[in-house]
């Protein structure tokens, strides 16, 4: 399952994410504050449930590496994937400010997570206005993204939905430097994508085949290959995908 890995904890100082230019830069005292705020690291195997809907959690995480999914489950067993979780994402904010999580988070690959203590979140508001602002910024960005997802799921057809999803993922991967040429890892199941877009597994599969046949994008064996990026961008309906640096917690 999961285990604490106290030996090889990374210093915030040397955090491999912080340097990337898709994240806003830290002031020196912010780094040292985060170092004190951080209570450890955790490694999770693929399949681990990091959070469970409705549960209170004492811990909050920042993803150092690996990927996962946030999702909600309905009474009838159907599932809505809310978003894909990637390195740099902060998870558990809802548990941090409200009393409980309103969705579950599951690791799709092995993940390494930076661990924070829930009951120290308020310290951050008291002592580190910049960090508190960053937290709010992250929440606003997440809200923005959910609005886009809602729009896609509510208004577009299957081809556009899939295209949007693949395009968005590829762009996120690129700023994280996870792409190689026109490819990037996409370690989810077709079922996950289907549940994210409100499509059936079968239709998702057929639509992916269509995009592959059209020479737009191809996803197999956990690797996404963007064959015709302009076309994918056009189908996705996203303007220039403003890549604005976002804060890291």
């Amino acid at each position: 399952m999961t285990y604490q890995d106290n030996v090889s904890v990374i210093d915030c100082d040397k955090c491999p994410l912080r340097g990337q230019d898709c994240f806003t830069s830290f002031k020196p005292d912010e780094v040292s504050f985060m170092q004190r705020f951080k209570t450890g690291e955790m490694v999770a195997d693929a399949g681990t449930e990091l959070f469970i809907e409705g549960a209170r959690s004492a811990q909050l995480f920042t993803v150092l590496s690996g990927m996962g999914i946030r999702y909600k489950t309905l009474e009838d067993g159907s599932r809505q994937v809310i978003s894909f979780v990637m390195p740099g994402d902060f998870i558990g904010l809802q548990a941090g400010v409200m009393d409980e999580m309103c969705h579950s988070v599951e690791a799709s690959t092995p993940m390494r997570l930076c661990v924070f203590n829930r009951n120290r979140v308020f310290e951050l508001f008291q002592n580190q206005p910049d960090r508190a602002f960053a937290l709010t910024h992250i929440a606003a960005v997440e809200e923005h993204f959910l609005g886009e997802a809602l729009t896609t799921v509510g208004q577009r057809g299957a081809v556009d939905k899939i295209a949007w999803s693949l395009h968005r993922f590829f762009c996120r991967a690129r700023v994280l430097d996870l792409t190689k040429d026109d490819t990037c890892p996409l370690p989810f199941r077709q079922q996950d994508l289907a549940d994210a877009l409100g499509l059936s597994l079968v239709h998702t599969n057929k639509t992916l085949a269509k995009l592959r046949a059209r020479g737009v994008a191809s996803w197999s064996h956990g690797v996404l290959w963007v064959m015709d990026e302009p076309e994918l961008t056009k189908l996705s309906g996203i303007d220039p995908e403003r890549v604005q640096p976002r804060p890291l917690i």
Copy 2:
């Protein structure tokens, strides 16, 4: 259109919303801070665009009275209603922390808004940790709601979608004390509801008729009448609708 109404500005001290028990209480110094933070009031006619997608805005608002919709527009002209805006809602957070809004906001009824200055948001983080936390809390609640909306739009059938939407609205209205017996104002068009749920106008109309015929709920002439609340709740798929007090800005 809109105009400043400098004469009858309400003191935060006497804010009619603050007293309601659906909002968390303020400490005295928080009230005085908000009073200084508040730069005025605005009255908007029905139909006014409070925010326009993509624009920067110098102002942020808290809704004092009236209702509206948040929405995104797509290239092809279709529209996704992100949420319904009700008294107590804080709008413009995205403009406040990111540089621009990623959805528009339109008044559906005449609205009275409390106006704040965007460039003073950071003061709040520097001087008022409680208020800053409240802002983050609001963002997290909004994120929670959007996740629920996404789940509904993605996974449920038309009857459930409509039921969820009506139930949610009625619950929100009730905690704001806008209900009278089993009714509450619902000042939107069927098209707005359709665009919120990703349904066509025609199908929305037919589904509303179905709920009316079944004796569950009836919406006409801007008034929602909940005829069978247990049934509506059941259809909506919401557990107990935990009514947790939320902060007001």
